[in-house]
Amino acid sequence: MREITYREALREALSEEIERDKNVVLIGEEVAQYNGAYKVTQGLWEKYGDKRVVDTPISEAGFIGMGIGASMLGVRPVMELMFWSFAYVAWDQILNNAAMVRYMSGGQINCPIVIRGPANGGTNVGATHSHTPENFIANTAGLKVVCPATPYDAKGLMKAAIRDNDPVYVMENTLLYGMKGDVPEEEYTIPIGKADVKREGTDLSIIAHGRATLTAVKTAEILQQEYDISAEVVDLRSIRPLNEKTIIESVKKTNRALLVEENKPFVGVGAQIAHLIQWNCFDYLDAPIARVSAIDAPAIYSKPLEDFQLPTPDRVLKAALKLCE
């Protein structure tokens, strides 16, 4: 299979969907003539023109709301946020309008919009640009949120998101844009709400999403090589809907659960996962459920501490070993 980057995988997804459906339009800051702040949309404006790839001013509340209104009329806008951190100035549109209009209209109006962009820390840009709002999004009934960790998942989930009739928010990661991985030439989509077991194991389930999945896989390899512990890594891929079944099956097999995420611990995604594990696997657990999250402070600028703040293989390893004592 050929290898392409996470960025290229996303670009292929966007390009293929633009060609497949005339209602798909990319809208955002610098997506067209500048080729995208992170080059995800590179070349698309040149290829598809002004109608399908649209630059906006720096005006998130305005253009995201505009996309939502257009989606109500059947357009399928794919809105780029340069950073998901910028979503906060458009919160009313993102959480109130997109999520509530179907419900408040008694199901008369659909909102088939995609909002995408990077949502991650670890890039030395300080607290305001390092937010990971997947937990806020997942907290809102009416919204779907996915966090692809690999090029394969990024492409398949993006295509599925664009075809979905509900608002789907895609959380990418700037640290992953350059990462290469296997992506088939032939067309595929990944069903939203389907987790993926990235590594099979028998002694411990490490459950993660986004870039934390890769940290989990690295840690699992160390556990195997140095401690003879067989860790299974479950990548949620989609936060809401959530593939509960895969989590439950894994924990029932390994009897231990370690939750890893780059989000903050309090009311983070892991809090919900921990709840559903105890609810469904209470009699199967041989140890308490453990969590490793971002250190609970605003994202720090200083590089050595920033590297420590997000879950590192070292922190994950320590937590795993403690669980397996």
Partner: protein
Amino acid sequence: MSKDKSKGFEAIATETNPRDFENDPVNKSLSSEQKINFLKEMLRIRRFEERSLRAYQQGKIGGFLHLYIGQESVAVGSLSVCGDNDHVITAYRDHGHALAAGMNMNECMAEMFGKYTGCSKGKGGSMHFFAPDKNYWGGHGIVAGQTPLGLGLAYGLKYKNIKGAALCYMGDGAVNQGVFHESLNLASLFNLPVVYIIENNGYSMGTSLERSSAYTDSLGKRAEAYKIEWDTVQGHLVYEVRAKVNEAIQRAHEESRPTILEIITYRYRGHSIADANADKYRTKAEVKEYQEKKDPINVWRNLLIEDKILTEEEAKAMDKEIRKEAEAAADFADKSPYPPTETIIDDVYWTHDNPDEHDNQGRIFFNDDWGPQA
């Protein structure tokens, strides 16, 4: 408090002539039947709302109830010039626009009663009426939150090469929200066929224009900062509303350019029923004076009588019929069932409501004690 300087007072003081714009092409072609129908539509809004107020006082309607009484000519006049491809979106004072767009009293009253027969099956309430089949897109609760949605409707029309306009209504209290200004900039920058209609009733909740805006000469004039055409409209005059809204719609259709119309109007009731104490920011005398001089329904009815299109008796008979219709709507709402409990999780996600038409997997609702997967 400076009541003497309020916009409401200014609305009373401005000299107006109900025959202005009578000979505008959009009005000249009106049949007597159409003119009578405008009166009927305005009366329907007023009687419907009066009946809803009684239902609220009886405890049948909960939450907020923002009455449109006094402003009826704005919705009826402006919607009467809309064509098949023109779309409408408004804020939370939405009953008038809903009825003027063709929604019926039963579905609207039942919605306020929280009943399953309501236009949103009891899920939206007073502030959230919707009828996309009638090009009516709500009914939005957050001040100015609908302004980029209206822009999006215009974007969608243009994207699909449909010759239409999006009319986005808002109150004077919405003009200081950032997202409105973002929408104006985008509307002009992208050449979108949107008409922003500021219904200036003088008070953003209980705060007069003088206490909420640094620039008070005109709300519409803010358009100039965005190279948008604008105009001021005497909202109690049906002919004038129709003529100026039609001009804006034509600009949208022919030039794909936005317009801001500041429509001067007046609300008789409080911002909402929950805070109906209008005395705090205006006098009863002010309200009374406006009603006597400029009540939009009286002004229009008197004009029709003067033109011998309608007699006093016919007007009274019409009113009586409409009161009956409103009463029947309240009765319908009262007798309708509440939504079945299990419907609480319907209409949240398209995929949940259409299980055979997608490949989504996983759990979408998360209660352990109730609902699917519990």
